[in-house]
Symmetry: C2
Subunit: 355 residues, 2 copies
Amino acid sequence: MADIPGPAFFIGKGDDTLISFGSGQPDMPPPRQAFDILKTYSAFKYGLIQGEVSLLTELAKEYPGSRPEDFVVTNGASEAIDLVLRVIARPKGKVLLPRPYYYSYPHNVHFAGMTPVYYDLEKGKINFETFKEALEGCSAVMINSPSNPTGTVQEVETLKQIEKLCEEKGTYVISDEVYKDIIYVRENYLLHGPRVVTVNSFSKTYGMCGLRVGYVYSQNKKLIEDIIEMKTHTAMNTSTVGQMMALAALRSPKSYIAHNLETWKTRRDLMFNGMKELGLDLWSPEGAFYVLPKFKNSTQAMSDLYHTHKVITYDGAWFGAPGRLRFSYALDEQKIIEGLRRVREFLGREYASYS
Amino acid sequence: MADIPGPAFFIGKGDDTLISFGSGQPDMPPPRQAFDILKTYSAFKYGLIQGEVSLLTELAKEYPGSRPEDFVVTNGASEAIDLVLRVIARPKGKVLLPRPYYYSYPHNVHFAGMTPVYYDLEKGKINFETFKEALEGCSAVMINSPSNPTGTVQEVETLKQIEKLCEEKGTYVISDEVYKDIIYVRENYLLHGPRVVTVNSFSKTYGMCGLRVGYVYSQNKKLIEDIIEMKTHTAMNTSTVGQMMALAALRSPKSYIAHNLETWKTRRDLMFNGMKELGLDLWSPEGAFYVLPKFKNSTQAMSDLYHTHKVITYDGAWFGAPGRLRFSYALDEQKIIEGLRRVREFLGREYASYS
């Protein structure tokens, strides 16, 4: 049945006749300043494992109350999460994950030798009582707001309750905030606390997915030291040329982010309204660039949409949400319109089976 | 006593009055072609997890009998080793390491949830009988020829015996050949076999340490698939810009490597003869760019050399060889001469304590 085994199947499939709602990466390029630095780039030696001092210093300006030494620059948020989990891993440790979840999380937890424990989001939101009950016996919890794949943003009140509870219990909170600069409904709320580990990257905010620059931010000195120690042996410094591109992006005018946010809003409206018109059942998109509408037989629907209509979507089952399809709207308006047209045609023919 | 906790202590210490025999990285820049590609570089999207097809294709040309799909491009050899060990890790698994060893190996084994087992090299060489005995009960073995930190190269006959034994026993052979293009005594011998996993990088051959591009090569299809699957969640693609620099380096004239080898030979002779003149006891340097002479109280000697003579060396104890100091000769001739002068002065004053 699953002729398409996972998201990696679609990577590199760039045929012009395809409409891809698949990949979760911005199609808008990084600020031109990021490429400008390449013209005179000449460094080749090892850098500090923690990251280039200039980049650490610039990052500290982004987080009030932080210091350069509170950060470690990583090979994207992926390595950041991997390192954090490996460093805090304890035998028989359990890590609490929301469901739907970003598809790598359960793998990351397993790879660190721990066990994932799940609680279900309600319409994409955390119910604090459910969370609290599920937290029992867990040594860490992952929070992802805005969320991939739900496109929802958690309530500030809930996040504060989680902070308080986890501080009391001594539970690590790994807050994956890679979509923090793509929120439509409010400012980002940065989770705080002695056990909070913030993970972020340059991939979504600055369109630098393939360049792999992310970071960990924590005020827990021991944790940062342990991450540096591990990274010394498992990867060494993050690519110095990528770091310099990230630094240039960070120093570029903030209007870049604001301008992109306007583009994301336009696309979101187009996508959300288009899906409502198709009669699909989905949550209001509050952040990131995903919607997760219900689709009966989602695995089959994904496969059929790809093979018969050349539309790429991701099976909700990959994110712990069978019966839904994830649509990324990281593509231009004309393609969104054409993609929705194809989905309409697909549903018109097969409506009874899929929605 | 150990006021200098490890090699990372010295990273970034670039004071002009220092002579550093510490860091194991070429001071000769990559081929200019690697920087040339930056002038028009504009890609920013995710790449294939396995690596850019153009780079995989070029790598396959370097290894007779290989195919592009036999490689995975990684964040340096460090990530390559980490991924291989994690993928083959079994509960209570043991990995056989030579002693002296590259200082990351025991950490890599522990981080993968396995236990290192050691056998001692004899004058920097593998005694096959010792190896065979120590291999009992191990699921993998690491081979590092030419070796960091010993500077020795293993006999081809021994390597073939190891191939045969490990194939019979079904033991993985992880062959770290990052110094394969810096051998003074013969051509490199590429280890072969269904259980052999070759690890290499662009760091030493092409002076690209900070750019972090390495790779795994194996004809074991399942192993390659497992590595790609793990890397999908722990790091995603290796920096695309680094990969394009590596590709340009690989396509540059091979005279670059030959020319650098001549430079390494000159430095090796200077270093080896200088050390012999100082009366130091060391093995003949056959490859890589290290010597590992005996130094009594090596931890104290390293500290004193740094604090009193501004000479950086690495304590042999970090490599499982207490009572020796590792000198890298990855620095220009004038600095080697000045460094040796300072060591002579140091020994003249403190000779009784250190040699």
